[in-house]
């Protein structure tokens, strides 16, 4: 099964688990499975239309899914999916 790496700030929503195994065939299916299992994650990962929030980046291995097929990117059995929050800010 593919593995999703949960970033530290979101582990409180996964009972402190740092990884989640998924049988999803695409990134969208994998994230759906994750947010169905751990409901508290949904508001941080998905927008009102159930799409991945713009400030969340998803990598499969070392590749940004935005350079592949976005959330339709295929997920192989041994894939490692990383959820990466945007870290940014600055003065007013």
């Amino acid at each position: 099964m593919a593995k999703i790496i949960i970033p530290t700030p979101l582990r409180k929503f996964t009972n402190n688990e740092s990884t989640f195994e998924t049988s999803g065939n695409t990134v969208k299916e994998a994230i759906q499975e994750l947010t169905t299992t751990h409901g508290g994650l949904a508001k941080h990962l998905l927008d009102v239309n159930n799409n991945i929030r713009s400030f969340i980046r998803i990598y499969v291995g070392d590749d940004d899914i935005n350079t592949l097929e976005k959330d339709a990117t295929a997920v192989s059995d041994n894939a490692v999916i990383s959820i990466i929050p945007a870290i940014a800010g600055g003065i007013a």
Binding site: I5, A86, G89
Partner: protein
């Protein structure tokens, strides 16, 4: 909210030196430590401000640097507890830009750098149930 963050002197020193070196641009980095007895920052590691454009007003950490930071925590048996950045010539108050992309759980430590020298340090954290910051009480060595 009543929340305290303690920052070890050597970690604070790394942030201050980074802030001075980057001035008048903003700089940023990751904070690691433990939560055995409250939130305790043992280590600050600078990262590149990858923001394209005006780095005097904005910072950004690249996704690859973020992945490395998570990996570092796993490999070194420590916890990624937050992010620091500087506000050159501005107070250490979290801005709307800081709030926009803030994540729960993380401490967002902000250092005010005035005329090239650190002037203040504050830490901000999101409420659990709403997208607003509250200020954490920072325990640090006194700024000289």
């Amino acid at each position: 909210m009543n929340s305290t963050i303690t920052i070890e002197e050597k970690a604070l020193d790394v942030m201050y030196k980074h802030g001075r070196a980057a001035f008048p641009d903003e700089c940023c980095g990751f904070l690691y430590g433990n939560e055995k007895e409250g939130r305790f920052i043992e280590l600050a590691i600078p990262v590149t401000n990858s923001k394209e454009g005006d780095q005097r007003r904005r910072f950004e950490i690249s996704p690859l640097d973020y992945m490395k930071a998570e990996r570092y925590a796993l490999e070194n048996d420590t916890t990624l507890l937050g992010v620091y950045h500087t506000h050159p010539q501005h107070p250490a108050i979290a801005s709307v830009h800081d709030l926009e992309k803030a994540m729960p759980y993380f401490s967002y430590v902000i250092i005010s750098v005035m005329d090239g020298k650190e002037a203040d340090v504050k830490s901000w954290k999101l409420y659990d149930d709403k997208r607003e910051f509250y200020e954490e009480q920072v325990n640090t060595p006194v700024i000289k």
